[in-house]
Assembly symmetry: C2
Homo-oligomer: 339 residues x 2
């Protein structure tokens, strides 16, 4: 008997995450029978390659999901809000990258290395977390399992690709204007991003935190199913094209030495430890771009508390932080026969 | 009676910090009678402007300090190690920017807004702290005085100017190579700095921390004269030309609301609060470059601990982080009649 193939759709197919989902489905040989690329009217008619064939982009609309088994939503929250329910009503299983359903108690929020078991309860929608959360929870997972986690203080160094094509275009244009000796024009971000850092990602909440910071708190507790896991975050945009970095300070419940943490991390799924200070080797965004692992390095004991660790965590926000995690969820759905 | 004027020398006069000391002495009208610019043989003979006149750079050597009242050392540790004792022996008072004497118990380590009173005990040498420490302790001071500080978790976003001209040249060259579509050549730093971040400043210690990180620990406790003040730091180089940024998580001894902290910070010497999320105003390195204040924003309560605050602190590392702090020390020495 031939293995089952799936009719797969990508909503937001022409965006940076949608394009990366398409590339990763091909790379990993996901059993795609038919691929439907969906986008706004503006992009309809464009042709994109998949497995050596050209696929024409269709306008997302009524009927887009007829006969579809699996939809990756890689557009914004408003697109997900309107069309995810339509896809579910049409019988498809949805993996949604937007923040729209992440805190819905009926929607599992999944990072396969951490909580693939949550998939069993899905009722048509699985949410994939925010990029900055995903790479952190992958790094925290082996530590959580071995020693428990009391509190996390995280500061991020996030790439412009996390904002989509507008962010990439802004850094590209501004850096080129600067190099040409021309005035640097503000575009897309509220302030210049080239040669600058912006302590501002997503919009501000009345608490003074940004939504991005609040997502790291809320999503981490949901993924670990541990409302007592405490996270405080400062999220910062840096002039890097791809891959987010994070300085993560962890207070565990039981003592872990740096050597024990390093060993646990090195053995964990999805993690590559790069931690050779003598050889000047540590994770950095530039070499992480286009790669799959969550890179962890600068693993140190933090002597200011009884059970403290400092980690430096880097991963490609478009891959593990978005598209790869979504495809891995799809793979889990297939292998667990949940689709 | 005419106000006293001082014969002032700058050792390392042609470096980025030395040049900034010269500019700030002029800007602030420090009572310089005679200015002696000292550098290596390679730079001797160059002419630099001061108060409208040209001053010829002299080679630093024996006799450089004869008749000098005050010397700013703005060269590396090895220059300070060799020549600071000679300057003191010649009767000069030294303000040293290097790390050479910072942990010497007989040498006050001073940030005037925080511990100008330590100057009284000087015996010829006053050390000025590392750039990343200075801006943090200025921001912590009003909080420390009002509520005490138990522990600080800091992650830095440090500009290339902190590495001197080599760092600036590397980012400049690499960004221009990138813009021209040319291969980006590694120079100065062990890895590309343009469009990348390096979790590595100064050399690595056996603990796994860098010297830069350890400086933030040791210098903060010395400046506050509080060995119980706990600091854990992750120091990171970002592709920004000037001004360091820091995400600072503070655990105070007594509760401070964000509003109380904001009020204390706004009233404190050397600080400008920029904290208007609704107006998208927060401290950033680009507008801070060339400015004197330590900018503090993103002031939030951290609900993960009983007495937690998150702050975002930005300042020009060449000015308050180095040259301005040194000149302010000189001004305090004058006003306190300690020179």
């Amino acid at each position: 008997m031939a293995a089952r193939e799936y009719t797969v759709a990508i909503a937001g197919a022409t965006g940076v995450v949608g394009g990366t989902v398409r590339a990763i489905l091909e790379e990993r040989g996901f059993p795609v029978g038919d691929l439907r690329l969906l986008a706004s009217a503006r992009s309809a008619g464009r042709k994109l390659e998949f497995n050596g064939a050209e696929v024409e982009v269709q306008e997302l609309g009524p009927g887009s999901f007829d006969g579809v088994d699996l939809v990756f939503f890689a557009a914004g929250g408003s697109v997900s809000k309107e069309f995810v329910p339509q896809a579910v009503a049409a019988g498809a299983t949805v993996i949604d990258k937007s923040s729209m359903f992440r805190q819905d108690p009926g929607v599992p929020l999944v990072v396969p290395e951490v909580n693939a078991d949550h998939l069993a309860s899905h009722t048509g929608i699985i949410a994939t977390p925010n990029c900055s959360t995903i790479q952190m929870v992958v790094a925290l997972k082996p530590i959580y399992d071995a020693a428990g986690i009391e509190r996390v203080v995280v500061s991020t160094y996030q790439a412009v690709s996390g904002s989509g094509q507008g962010g990439i275009a802004a850094l590209d244009a501004q850096a080129k204007q600067w190099a040409a000796g021309e005035p640097v024009e503000q575009q897309f971000y509220p302030h210049q991003i080239a040669f600058n850092v912006l302590p501002h990602i997503d919009s501000f909440l009345p608490t003074g935190s940004t939504k991005e910071e609040q997502k790291m708190v809320d999503e981490t507790t949901k993924i670990f199913a541990d409302p007592d896991l405490k996270v405080t975050a400062t999220c910062v945009r840096v002039p890097v094209f791809g891959a987010h970095s994070e300085a993560v300070n962890v207070q565990t419940k039981r003592k872990l030495s740096a050597a024990e943490a390093r060993e646990l991390l090195a053995a964990a799924a999805g993690i590559e430890v790069v931690d050779d200070p003598a050889g000047l080797q540590y994770p950095m965004p530039l070499p992480a771009e286009g790669k799959d692992p969550v890179y962890v390095g600068r693993i140190r004991e933090d002597a200011t508390i009884a059970n403290g660790l400092d980690l430096w965590v880097v991963s490609d926000n478009l891959r593990k932080g978005a598209a790869l995690n979504a495809v891995q969820i799809a793979e889990e759905l297939v292998s667990r026969e949940l689709i």
